[in-house]
């Protein structure tokens, strides 16, 4: 798992010009963060291929950023942008599913087959993702990044907030998650 150290190292990298990234610098940043970012996005989106797609989008946006916009905090910028894009994709997928269900195109989502445990786990994942798509994006972002084992320091850098406020923000986000979970999935006994 990446660490604050990796995050900091990439932060010290600067663009060689304000117009384009130096290819070598960009490659270093890509190799440093790609796996972890895809890991976070797989949690959000459930599958590797949409996760990789969104990760590439985030890196492409990074590639086009002038240094000023990212304040030198490349790692933080990447985690923030990738999760923003991931949450947007998750919410869009939710809206699409709702439309399809309303149009009667989607009969039942529980199409997963395999051992019962896997099926149940997959359904639980769907419930969690539906809740993440329903709460405020900023809160979903915080929860997914924390669940992906970012330290408070990394969270503060990615979300551009004070480290001392992270605990309170996490409590609030979890409370919101909990309330929404119970509202969306009552009687599931998960909470």
């Amino acid at each position: 798992m990446g660490s604050a150290q990796t995050l900091n190292r990439s932060m010290s990298l600067r663009e060689s010009s304000s117009k384009h990234w130096d290819e070598a610098d960009f490659r270093v940043v890509f190799l440093q963060h790609y796996t972890r970012i895809v890991g976070i996005l797989v949690r959000l989106l459930g599958d590797l291929s949409p996760a990789e797609e969104v990760a590439n989008d985030a890196f492409w946006r990074l590639y086009r950023q002038p240094s000023l916009q990212i304040d030198g905090n490349v790692g933080g910028w990447l985690y923030r942008t990738a999760t923003n894009l991931g949450i947007d994709a998750l919410r869009a997928a939710g809206r699409r599913r709702q439309r399809e269900e309303a149009a009667g195109k989607l009969v039942h989502q529980g199409a997963t087959t395999g051992p019962l445990d896997d099926v149940l786990r997959e359904e639980k994942c769907r419930r969690v993702r539906a809740v993440l798509a329903a709460i405020k994006p900023a809160q979903a972002q915080l929860l997914i990044l924390r669940a992906s084992e970012l330290s408070y320091k990394e969270l503060a850098e990615a979300l551009d907030v004070k480290m001392s406020g992270i605990g309170t923000m996490l409590n609030r986000a979890e409370e919101e998650f909990r309330n929404r979970y119970l509202a969306l999935h009552p009687n599931k006994g998960d909470l």
Partner: protein, 410 residues
Amino acid sequence: MTCTNIDDGILRAHLDDELAGTELAELSQHLASCANCRARFEKLGAKTAQTGVLLTTLAPAGDVTAINSAVAYGQFRSEFGTSDEPQASWISRLFAPRWRPAWGLAAGAVVVAVLVGVSPVRIWAQRVLAMLRVQKIQVVTIDPTTLMSGSEPDSRPYKLVNQFIADNVVVTMDPGKPDIVSSMAKAAQLAGYPVRTIGSLGAPQSIEVNGEAAFQMTVNRDRIEMLLDEVGRSDIRIPESANGALIAVHIPKTVISMYGDCPARHGHTISDTQSRAEALAERKMERMASMNNTNCTYLIQAPGPTVSVPPDLNMSEIAEAALELAGMSPAEAHSFCQTVDWSSTMVVPIPRNTSSYETVSVDGVQGTLITETLTQGNRYSLLWIKNGVIHSLAGHGNSSDALALAASLR
């Protein structure tokens, strides 16, 4: 530490092993001796564990770390090619720190307000869009103190606006660096429309032609509302109908002529480390700064920008939100929006406390004269639209000075 200064935030940090040093020592000591706080800590721990289990369910089943990032990088390069793509830089520079006084947090409002121009006529990019074109100008007074509160470079709203722009705005046409030309005839030739001069001031000190610019953005309601929450304006809501709307703005070539003793500007050579957009932004800043020079007059000519929006987008509702953000009361914003034809009007916000405006007759049409009272004297800005070209005459002096200069246009 006492019970009163131990909030759930610090307990949570302790739970997450994120405390160290004296903070950790003091809290541990307190928890050992205070049953009440210990109970709080345990209760928080139990709740956190429950949600933690649910969120952990999302952990990838397969081994993501097995992904070969070097291979991924190769795929990324082949998919996305190299650098000759539209740059996001130009628009982002508008919101760069040096521009903050002019834009600042208003950026969100401005992006929306820029859209507030504009009569459904044409098909654009396979989607039927309403093409809006500026035909008249309407001034609205706002209270800038409310919208400037989040404009410091380090403030979160400011960074959020930047991030929002980075995520949602795509520059499709970069204006590049302005062309400095030697005569009005050359300017007209480059710009592609007749260009006028202020007769009574003689030859302009300098003339520049700015390239065409275009950008587009998708309205992301969640993100805009998140921004509004952040600046403490959760009361302002973006209409559902606006969500996902693609808005495209096109700004034609602009001719700027300067008269009198305008401050010398830096050379126009662009260094390697300075993008064309950077150079442009810098020049605009110089222009703004030079407004302090009392003997300098500007005439800006620009065909009205066009804004393409989905035909069902309710511009009035969006404009109301933007005006509220800019400091108008909801009632004021609502009544103002009722009076404006959003398909053809460019709204110019001016600060309420230092500026005043009046409608004047200029160049055979109706124009708007904005006067700003400054410590070093009055500054005017006279705006009017003639033959589809927006004219803006700016300088130091009174309204009569402005009207006399405008009357000498040829």
